[in-house]
Symmetry: C2
Subunit: 464 residues, 2 copies
C-alpha cells in the first residue's frame, strides 16, 4: 500500500474467528476507525450465522438454514471494507513480530499476516465424551451450519430414533426440535436433573415433566457406556439398559479454543478460557479477545468463569473491537442472564444456582413462589414459578431462576439488573413493578418471591 | 373491652378508605400486630375491588363485575379480624383527642372513633369539567363499581353512541371496551395528542393511529363547549361542531380527597395531595396516609407529585399499615412505572415525558428506536418502539416510553429500575439483556435506544 506523504499508515486490525464475537468486533473496529485495514479470518466456509438458531433451522421453524447467516457476502468487502479470509486457519501467533501465520485450508498455502491490533475470537468447540464407539457414523454435535446439514441428511436416510447426550440448553432445544418432527427422542444426562447449569433441580423438574408430556424420554443420573453398531450407530448402552438409536447427538459442554494463543504466551485462566481485563485485553500487548474463548467476570462473585453466551460475546466484542481500533471502552462483569423456550415454557436465569453458590462457598438461601401473571379475575394469565437466592450473610441477591408461560425472561433481566447493582433482597423487594389488569398482577411473582425470601432471611437471622 | 391484669390494652388502628390502599394497610397492620383492634371505614357499599379492572368488567372480558371484589365478606371480620364499617363517612379528625367523627350514611347516626394510629386512604374522586349541561342524565365517571353498573344500565336502554372526555389511560381503556361492544366512540382530548401524561406525542400517535384503525374517532386539541339535551345527553358541542351522543363519559383527572384531614391540620402539598415522609407519616402524630390521596416523591427529580397508581398505592399502604401497627418500614421514591394494553398494543412508561422534563427545567434529550422483538430469521417477532430520555447535563436516564406488540411493560420495568439506581444512559446501555432466538433479539430494542441516545448525548456534548 502506498501512503501519500504526510499521511500515516492505516492501522491494521486482524480478527481471528468470524462468529458473533469476531464479526461484531470487526464491524465495531470499522465504526471506530474508518481508515483501518481490517482482516477477518475464519476456518469455516460460512460467515457469521446464528449459532443459537441451529435447533430452529433443524426443526423448520426457520424454513431455510441460510437465513441464519447474518450478513450477505458483499457486506464484508464492499460495505464494511473488511477483508474476509474464509477457510483460513491461524496456526501461530508471533507477538514479538506482531504477526500471525495462517494457512489457506483449500490450497494449503501459508502466509503471514502482520497486525497492529489482534482480536482473538476463536470461540469454542464441542467436547466429545470418551465413550467406545463415539467415532461411529451417525454421531453429531450441534455447533455449525454444517453440523445441522449433516444431521438433517443422516436422519432423512436413517431411522426415526435419536439419543441426545446432555440435557443442557442445546440438548433440550434439540430434543424439542426433533420431537416436533416426529422423532423418537431420548435424552441422557449424567447429573440428577436436566438443565443443571441453569436451574436448581426443583425448578428443572417443572421443565422435565413438560418435556416428558411432549413424549421426550429423559434419563438422568446415567452415563453412556458404549455406542454399538457396525459402522453406524445402532444401540446405545446406558447404565444397565440398551437403547436403540439411529443417531446420537452430543450436546455436552464446549471447550474454549485457546490455541495457538496459549502457546504464544496468552494467559489462560483456571476456568479454561483466555484471561482478559475489563478492556478485553489479554496479557499480550495489542492482543484482545472476546466471546466463547474467554473467561468472563461474574457480577455476583467477581470470579472468572466460562459463560459462553451470545449476550456476553457480542458485548465483549464491541469492547474488544473498539479498543483494538484505538477507542476506549470497558466491559462490566456479567450475571450470565440467559433464556430459552422449551415446550411452551420460558426458562430464564441470572446469577448462580444453589449448586454453584455452594461450590463458591456462599451461604445461599432461597425461596420459590408460583403465581399467575394476571389477577384472578382476569383471563389470560399463566403460571410463573420464580426462585430467588440470596447470600444469608449479607442478604445480597445472588441468583434468579424463572420458569413459566410468559415473561420469565424479562423477570430474569430485572433480577439481573438488581444483581448488577448489588441489591439486597430487602432492597429488591421494594422495587416497584408496573400493574394493569390486561398485562400483570398488582404484585408480580418476582416481588412475591422476594418477599418470601426476605422472610426466610429474617427467620434465619433470628435463629442464628 | 376488659383487659386482664398485667396485659396492656390492644392498640387501636383506624383506616379510613377501603380501596386498594386502605385494605392493604389494614391487612398489613394485622400481620404486624396480631392483637390490635383494626377498623376499616368506607363511604362505599363495596369492599375493596379492582378499580383498574372496571373497563374490563364493562367490556365483558371480566364476565361478572362482582369478581373484581378482592375478598369475600367473611375475610374481614372472620379471617383478618378487621372491623369493617361500610357506608360510613368520616366527617372530622380531632388529632388532639386522637378521635375521628363518623356518620353512618344509611341511618344518619353519628359516633366518634378513637384511634392510637390512623391511616388515611381516602383516595381520589373524578373531577367534572365546568361545562354547561354536565349535570344532565347520561353523564358518567369511571371510578366505582356503581359507576359501571349505572353506565351499563344507561347504555342498554339508550343509543349506541358514546363520547369520552379525556384521552388518558382510563378514557382510552373505556374507548376500547365500548368499541369491543359495538358502540360508536368519540374521544375528545383538550391537549394536542392522546395519553399526554404517559407518552410524548410522537409515541402516542402510534397508539392513536391504532385506535383509529379500530374505529375510534379521536378529536385532539378541542374542548367541550356544551352538552345539549332535554334532560338526557343528546348533542355535544365540540369546538365548532356538534356530535350526537347518547352517553358521555368524563375521564379527566382525579382529585385527591384531602378533607376532612386538611381542615384538622394535615399538611397538603403543592401538587394537591397529602404530604407524607418516607414512613408514610403525615405532619400529625400517628396519622399516616397512602394511596391516591397522597403525593409521591419522584425517583428521578426528588419532587413531590400525584402519581395515583395502584402500584404506588399498595406499596405505600404496606408501609403505612406496618408503621401504624408499630413496625418500621420506609417507602422509596417512585418512577411511576405504568402500563396498559390498548387495541393489541402494550403501552408503558417510567419517569418523565419530554413535556414533564421541560416543565421541571431538566434538559431532556431523547432517542427513539423501532425494532423487532425477534431476530429477522425467526418468526413471531412484533415491532416495539422505545423512546428514552436523559438529562443532557449529566446523562442520567429520566424517562422511558415503550409501545409495542409485546413486553413493552417489562422494558419499562427494566428502565424504571435503572432510574431508581440513578444510572446514566452510558451505564444503562451496557446492562446486558438475555438472548435466545425464540424469545428475543441479541440487542434488545431497549439497548438499541440507549445506544442511539448515548450517541446523541455525545454529539450534544461535542457541539456545546
Amino acid at each position: 500500500m502506498i501512503v501519500p506523504k504526510g499521511m500515516t499508515m492505516p492501522k491494521r486490525i486482524v480478527v481471528v474467528g468470524a462468529g458473533a464475537a469476531g464479526t461484531t468486533a470487526s464491524i465495531e473496529a470499522r465504526r471506530t476507525d474508518r481508515l483501518a485495514e481490517i482482516y477477518l479470518v475464519t476456518k469455516e466456509r460460512d460467515t457469521e450465522y446464528s449459532r443459537c438458531g441451529l435447533p430452529y433451522a433443524f426443526s423448520g421453524i426457520v424454513p431455510r438454514i441460510e437465513t441464519l447467516i447474518a450478513h450477505p457476502s458483499h457486506f464484508y468487502e464492499t460495505i464494511s471494507r473488511i477483508r474476509l479470509l474464509l477457510r483460513t486457519e491461524c496456526t501461530k501467533l508471533r507477538p514479538d513480530d506482531k504477526k500471525i501465520d495462517v494457512t489457506d485450508l483449500r490450497t494449503g498455502s501459508k502466509r503471514e499476516l502482520p497486525y497492529d491490533a489482534l482480536v482473538v475470537a476463536t470461540g469454542a468447540v464441542p467436547t466429545l465424551p470418551r465413550i467406545r464407539g463415539i467415532d461411529k457414523s451417525g454421531v453429531f454435535t450441534i455447533r455449525t451450519l454444517d453440523d445441522i446439514r449433516n444431521l438433517s441428511r443422516h436422519t432423512e436416510s436413517h431411522g426415526r430414533s435419536v439419543l441426545i447426550i446432555g440435557a443442557g440448553l442445546i440438548g433440550m432445544e434439540m430434543s424439542e426440535a426433533l420431537a416436533s418432527k416426529g422423532f423418537e427422542v431420548t435424552v441422557v444426562e449424567m447429573l440428577p436433573e436436566i438443565l443443571p447449569a441453569v436451574l436448581d433441580p426443583d425448578m428443572a423438574s417443572i421443565v422435565r415433566r413438560r418435556a416428558e408430556e411432549h413424549g421426550i424420554r429423559i434419563i438422568c443420573g446415567s452415563t453412556i457406556k458404549e455406542i454399538v453398531g457396525e459402522t453406524c450407530v445402532e444401540d446405545i448402552v446406558v447404565g444397565g439398559q440398551t437403547i436403540k438409536a439411529d443417531s446420537v447427538i452430543v450436546a455436552a459442554r464446549v471447550r474454549p479454543v485457546v490455541e495457538p494463543w496459549r502457546e504464544a504466551g496468552v494467559r489462560v485462566g483456571d476456568a479454561g478460557g483466555i484471561r482478559v481485563d475489563n478492556r478485553m485485553s489479554t496479557n499480550l500487548a495489542d492482543v484482545y479477545a472476546a466471546g466463547d474463548c474467554v473467561e468472563t467476570k461474574c457480577a455476583v462473585t467477581g470470579k472468572n468463569l466460562l459463560l459462553q453466551l451470545a449476550t456476553t460475546a457480542v458485548r465483549q466484542a464491541l469492547v474488544a473491537g473498539r479498543n483494538a481500533a484505538g477507542g476506549s471502552e470497558t466491559y462490566p462483569p456479567s450475571t450470565g442472564v440467559a433464556t430459552t423456550k422449551l415446550f411452551g415454557l420460558e426458562i430464564a436465569c441470572a446469577g448462580l444456582t444453589t449448586e454453584a453458590s455452594n461450590r463458591l462457598e456462599l451461604s445461599p438461601i432461597s425461596a420459590r413462589v408460583s403465581a399467575s401473571t394476571r389477577l384472578q379475575y382476569m383471563p389470560g394469565g399463566t403460571e410463573v414459578t420464580v426462585k430467588l437466592l440470596c447470600d444469608a450473610r449479607d442478604g445480597r441477591l445472588v441468583g434468579a431462576q424463572i420458569v413459566g408461560g410468559e415473561d420469565a425472561s424479562w423477570r430474569a433481566n430485572f433480577a439481573s439488573l438488581a444483581m448488577h447493582m448489588r441489591l439486597t433482597v430487602q432492597e429488591f423487594r421494594k422495587k416497584e413493578t408496573f400493574y394493569a389488569p390486561p398485562v400483570s398482577p398488582v404484585w408480580d411473582p418476582l416481588t412475591l418471591a422476594a418477599r418470601a425470601l426476605e422472610r426466610k432471611l429474617e427467620a434465619s437471622i433470628r435463629t442464628r
